[in-house]
Amino acid sequence: MPQIIDAAVQVELSADGDPRAFVWDRFEHTIIGQPQAVFSRTRWWENNGTPTRIDTELWRVDAAKGDEDQHRYDLRHDADGTWVLALDWG
């Protein structure tokens, strides 16, 4: 069962622009392999104001804290540039 985290995190990007690591709860989690981004559209016309984006950006990454087992996480990248650790898939 995925665990809802919903916490703002610091994300470090690689030279290529992919997330390389994130700091959650003071611990750095290193991302392993090629992370995959997914963009999902919103029903923006039902919200107030004109959006600058019509989709939400989510990165599904495999990451590990130190020598621990790797988990799969969902990192959300919001329009204002903040990163939110949304889910921990275990």
Partner: protein, 1135 residues
């Protein structure tokens, strides 16, 4: 690191792409790209703009098209693919081949829409394979192709089979697989899985794979606009499109920078099992294809190289320049034969001057081509008149392209063409509107369809369209959107929010917007759509003429009229070196041709309008009388007033008049200054004696472009060619300082004092870009004079022409009234005599005009054709059997009297006639054309006798003949529709419009009549003034001016009341001009009704009391001491 985008839709992919090519190219260049392709859907609509934008941004352009493909035999759709043109690269022999094949491919896709009626544009695969030969094209098979769709469905077998079909048909190395990944959610199209499977298919089949982003917009935030485009394309609100999964999966189809594209590539490669180096190979293949598709604007596309039709096509066997010289010299000798030696010499000198420019610019073929077209038109017997700056050329006059003599009119060649001008010349030809399509077809026949195409025009979103489509996307109710759309004028949609804040008339809407989040969104979305291309259509007059390479340089598609139309618009002509000729249909030319034809039919006399002397006193007398209704260019109320003040005496006065009546001169108060000097109220101010020859013709007021050019030349000695460049730059405020410095320096050196320079510079700088080319004015003045001449000497024929072709601003019913005033009887509809157009008939010693059949509302073309074919009819029975009219038509004809010939022209018997027609049962007996009608007694006759006198048709009861005519034809022919109010007018003391001109200024008057026109011209000072033209049937319209205070007092009636009674005061303007300042207004219908009621009451009272009671109807106040004499016009002019 850069990334070449190979698949990009610009905003010219209407209702699909949303970013203009200029923005795309700038964005790509800013990201470090060296190449950008634009591949619009179904065409090269944005191609020329893209190439020029790439040139400006310093990157290399690629061109392609996103096309649908089908199987040649089975017509099975094979999805959408991208066709990319290869550049010539280092091999000059192949330059242009790829671009030509691309043009042909697009044209071929559009041929399908014609061949298979209603089919969307789609190219047969076999044809595509043909065109792709010789290494001309690359076809990208992406997610929208049949291969990609099978991949999407995970149907690998089918995908391979489909791909094998493509490989079998297409030439080797003409196919690449297109990998597109929009990072959509897993399981959706555009997700990483189908992209990686497509890459695997490429590896398996050893075909190159290229990465693209199937771009629809420049930046991510424009994805919203693309959503709107989708809603508009599907005519479906966004919410419903979402349900139907017809919206873009997300907002990732933007022109991503290189880094982001590489990121996508890594994700695609990582998501599948690929061989080593797959990532590098994908990016390398993409770059390699871009390299092959980079086009050289000059070598590949032919940008900037004008191409005229081959000499052989225009009937020239020798060097075009020598041919042009010969024809021009001959033309000058002929045109100036009677002009006298000095003018003839001057014309030859001017020709030599013009020819030297033509020679240096290499435009000899151009002039021969235009002259050829003019010849074609004339040979068809169609009236033609050149317009525009080309009229200033003696060469065009000699070649009979133009019929205005340029030297005597003071027109300049340099306003048209000079070595200083960087654009192709432009000659406009005005022709009879009714024959325009015939001319187009003839031009296609003569030059050949491979050299001719119509031009298109791009229609862009404006306020109303934008708010409608934005409202549609949001799913708002039609009525609500329509209400808002109605208020969208006089400002740009992009400024919608600012307008809401500023404009008082939008206050109510602004309040609603503040309350509603949806309306607030609507405002933003409307602004986003503004100015985006919406659709293309055929340009109203542009015809492209070129050599036989035309279809290698522009794709064509069918226009509404069937002839092929280029996908390029007028902005693309010049860069593409395409010669565009404006062949504009002008209704007045048709009207005049009709008049000449009618005169010939009736009298056998030929009138050659182009040879009518331009100094006929009677014609100028008519113009000066301001009875200019129907005359070209000078028939509007404002023009009537100006003509009255100006009192034209010679042809040049007409040119001046027409040039003054333009927004620029009007705003700058030029008419007043000109008139003061003309009528000797002030002395003409030429500023300096050396300017007098330039400004004498306009009494010191600078009106014409030509005068500005001459002033520049006189001041600086810069030559007329450069003077025209300076004149153009006057319209750009940022250039003024530079020009001023240049003028001051040179003028001082040429002996002008500083004071003179100050004054003349003030005039020049104030002139700005306003004013008018005298060549335009003179070209307009000619048909003005010709139509005035016809109205003066052949009023019946002229009015028949006007009524048939309806060229002007006034309603036909007023033209009918004008005919009556001119003493030309208008004869009613009559199935025995009426034709398909207005015809002149002899009436006694004079001439009348017969109403034509099409004026009857609701009758069909077929019925009318049968009537004309079988005229005259021996009996009602004969009429019915041969024409077989529908009952509606039959009854309408009877009601208005078109069948009166069958009842002995006895109007009272129409009741019987209608009763008879209504009693007819069964179908008419069809009689063959070569048979006589059955000789049965007229049924109508059987109704004779007292009994049938009592028959009353409800359709006729209580209606005057005028009422019936207005009802069925909209035209009161037998009498003026105001006639029934004449007793009332007499009683109230209404001044007839025809008598207004006799009254002194400041006279209080009552006017009445039917509204014929409402104008709200732009005024100095900015406050809205409403002009209403009233027609009471006595003469020309009376023009009433309602100023701001009167408008406030009267309210909406100023715009809404059709029949008006107006109290006002005369205002004289010049010798003949008079208008009335409106002070009060009533609805004539209400006044009449109340009056009748009051009279009835009075009569009743009189019966009872045997004593006459005073009539107490509220009547408009008669101004005290107005001294208006009673008019007997109302009673003497009886029917």
């Amino acid at each position: 690191m850069s990334f070449p985008h190979l698949h990009v839709a610009s905003a010219y992919s209407t209702h699909y792409g949303v970013t203009l090519p200029e923005a795309l190219a700038e964005q790509a260049a800013a990201d470090g790209a060296t190449f950008l392709a634009v591949t619009d859907r179904d065409g090269l609509y944005g191609a020329v703009k893209h190439v020029r934008a790439c040139q400006a941004a310093g990157i290399r352009p690629g061109l392609g098209a996103d096309l649908e493909v089908h199987d040649d035999d089975t017509l099975t759709p094979l999805g959408r693919i991208v066709v990319l043109a290869h550049g010539g690269g280092s091999d000059p022999s192949s330059a242009g081949r790829g671009y030509a094949a691309l043009c042909r491919a697009v044209s071929s896709a559009h041929e399908t829409t014609v061949r298979l009626n209603g089919h969307p544009p789609s190219i047969p695969r076999g044809r595509l394979a043909e065109l792709a030969g010789l290494n001309s094209l690359t076809v990208l098979l992406g997610p929208a192709s049949d291969v990609g769709r099978a991949v999407d469905r995970r149907d690998n077998l089918q995908a391979r089979a489909n791909l094998a079909d493509w490989q079998r048909v297409m030439p080797p190395q003409s196919i690449a697989l297109e990998i597109v990944c929009h990072l959509a959610e897993p399981g959706m199209p555009g997700s990483v899985a189908p992209a990686t499977r497509m890459l695997a298919l490429a590896e398996h089949t050893r075909l190159p794979a290229v990465l693209s982003n199937a771009v629809r917009y420049g930046t991510a935030d424009e994805a919203v606009t693309a959503d709107l485009a989708d809603a508009a394309r599907h005519l479906t609100p966004l919410a419903q499109l979402q349900e139907a999964t017809s919206l873009q999966v997300n907002g990732q189809a933007w022109l991503k920078p290189a880094a982001a594209m590489r990121q996508v590539a890594r994700m695609v490669v990582d998501a599948g099992q690929h061989s080593d180096g797959a990532l590098a190979r994908l990016l390398r293949d993409t770059h390699e294809l871009a390299e092959r598709c980079a086009l050289d604007p000059a070598a590949d596309i032919g940008l900037g190289r004008p191409r005229m039709p081959e000499a052989s096509v225009i009937g020239v066997t020798r060097d075009p320049l020598a041919e042009l010289w010969a024809r021009a010299r001959h033309g000058i000798d002929e045109r100036y034969a009677e002009a006298g030696r000095p003018l003839l010499t001057a014309a030859h000198d001017r020709l030599a001057h013009e020819m030297s420019t033509v020679q240096s610019l290499g435009f000899a073929s151009y002039f021969l081509t235009v002259a050829k077209v003019a010849d074609i038109v004339r040979d068809m017997g169609i009236r033609i008149q050149a317009r525009g700056s080309g009229v200033g050329s003696v060469l065009n006059y000699a070649l009979h392209t133009s019929s205005v003599e340029p030297l005597g009119n003071g027109l300049l060649w340099e306003r048209f063409l000079s070595p200083e001008r960087q654009t192709l010349p432009d000659i406009d030809l005005d022709v009879e509107s009714a024959r325009r399509h015939d001319i187009y077809r003839k031009v296609f026949d003569t030059f050949g369809a491979s050299r001719v195409s119509l031009m298109s025009m791009t229609n862009a979103y404006r306020g109303r369209g934008a708010v409608r489509d934005a409202g549609l996307a949001l799913g708002m109710p039609d009525t609500q959107v329509a209400t808002i759309a109605k208020q969208m004028w006089r400002f740009n949609a992009r400024d919608f929010r600012a307008a809401l804040a500023e404009k008082p008339e939008l206050e109510e809407l602004a309040a609603e917007v503040r309350e509603s989040a949806q309306l607030d969104l609507l405002v933003d979305l409307t602004a986003r759509l503004d100015r985006l291309p919406r659709h293309i259509s055929v340009h109203p007059c542009g015809v492209i003429l070129s050599d036989s390479s035309l279809l290698d340089r522009t794709p064509v598609q069918a226009s509404g009229m069937g002839l092929p139309m280029s996908q390029f618009d007028k902005h693309d002509m010049d860069p593409m070196g395409l010669i565009k000729l404006d062949i504009l249909g002008v209704r007045m030319q048709s009207a005049m041709a009709h008049a000449v034809e009618e005169h010939h039919r009736l009298t056998g006399e030929h009138i050659d309008l182009d040879r009518v002397p331009l100094d006929d006193p009677a014609t100028y007398e008519l113009i000066r009388s301001t009875r200019t209704l129907g005359i070209f260019q000078i028939e509007s109320p404002g023009q009537m007033e100006l003509v009255g003040k100006l009192q034209p005496e010679v042809f040049n006065d007409l040119t001046v008049e027409i040039s003054l009546f333009r927004p620029g001169p009007m705003k700058n108060n030029m008419p007043l200054r000109y008139l003061e000097a003309r009528h000797g109220e002030v002395a003409p101010d030429y500023i300096h004696p050396r300017f007098e020859p330039i400004l004498r013709e306009t009494n010191g007021v600078v009106i014409f472009h030509e005068q500005v050019m001459r002033l520049f030349d006189e001041l600086t000695g810069c030559g007329l060619g450069h003077a025209d460049v300076l004149r153009r730059h006057l319209g750009r405020p940022e250039q003024l300082d530079v020009i001023e410095a240049y003028v001051r320096e040179n003028a001082l050196a040429r002996g002008f004092d500083a004071g003179t320079i100050d004054r003349v510079w003030t005039v020049l700088a104030g002139f700005g870009s306003f004013g008018f080319a005298k060549a335009h004015g003179a070209a307009f003045a000619l048909p003005t004079y010709q139509s005035a001449w016809l109205k003066t000497h052949h009023p019946a024929a002229f009015l028949a022409g006007l009524l048939t072709h309806d060229p002007g601003m006034w309603p036909k019913d007023l033209l009918v009234a004008e005919a009556r005033v001119l003493g030309v009887p208008v004869l009613g509809l009559d199935v025995q005599h009426s034709a398909l157009d207005y015809r002149v008939e002899s009436v006694g010693a004079g001439q009348g005009i017969r109403m034509p059949l099409p004026e009857l509302n609701g009758s069909s073309d077929a019925e009318r054709a049968r009537i004309v074919r079988h005229q005259p009819f021996t009996s009602l029975q004969d009429f019915r059997d041969r024409v077989r009219p529908r009952r509606r038509t039959f009854e309408a004809l009877a009601r208005i009297g078109a069948l009166d010939s069958f009842i002995g022209h006895d109007r009272t018997r129409r009741h019987e006639l209608l009763a008879h027609i209504q009693s007819l049962r069964g179908t008419a007996i069809t009689i063959a054309d070569d048979q006589l009608a059955f000789e049965v007694p007229l049924p109508v006759l059987e109704y004779e006798g007292a009994r049938f006198d009592a028959v009353t048709s409800l359709q006729l009861r209580g209606r005057t003949q005028s009422d019936l005519e207005l009802l069925d034809t909209g035209l009161a022919v037998s009498d003026h529709r105001m006639r029934k109010y004449y007793p009332l007018f007499a009683e109230l003391g209404v001044t007839p419009a025809s008598r207004l001109a006799n009254l002194p200024g400041g006279t209080d008057v009552l006017l009445a009549g039917v509204r014929r026109a409402t104008n709200t011209p732009p005024m100095r000072g900015g406050r809205r003034v409403v002009f209403v033209s009233l027609d009471d049937g006595t003469g020309p319209v009376a023009n009433v001016v309602f100023f701001h205070d009167a408008q406030e007092r009267i309210g909406g009636g100023v715009f809404q009341t059709e029949l008006m009674l107006v109290r006002g005061r005369t205002r004289r303007s010049g010798a003949r001009g008079v208008s009335v300042t409106g002070e009060g207004m009533w609805d004539l219908v209400t006044v009449a009704r109340e009056r009748t009621r009051a009279q009835a009451k009075a009569a009743k009272a009189a019966d009872g009391q045997a004593e006459r009671a005073p009539i107490s109807t509220p009547r408009p106040r008669r101004a005290a001491g107005s001294g208006t004499p009673p008019f007997d016009l109302w009673s003497t002019r009886s029917a």
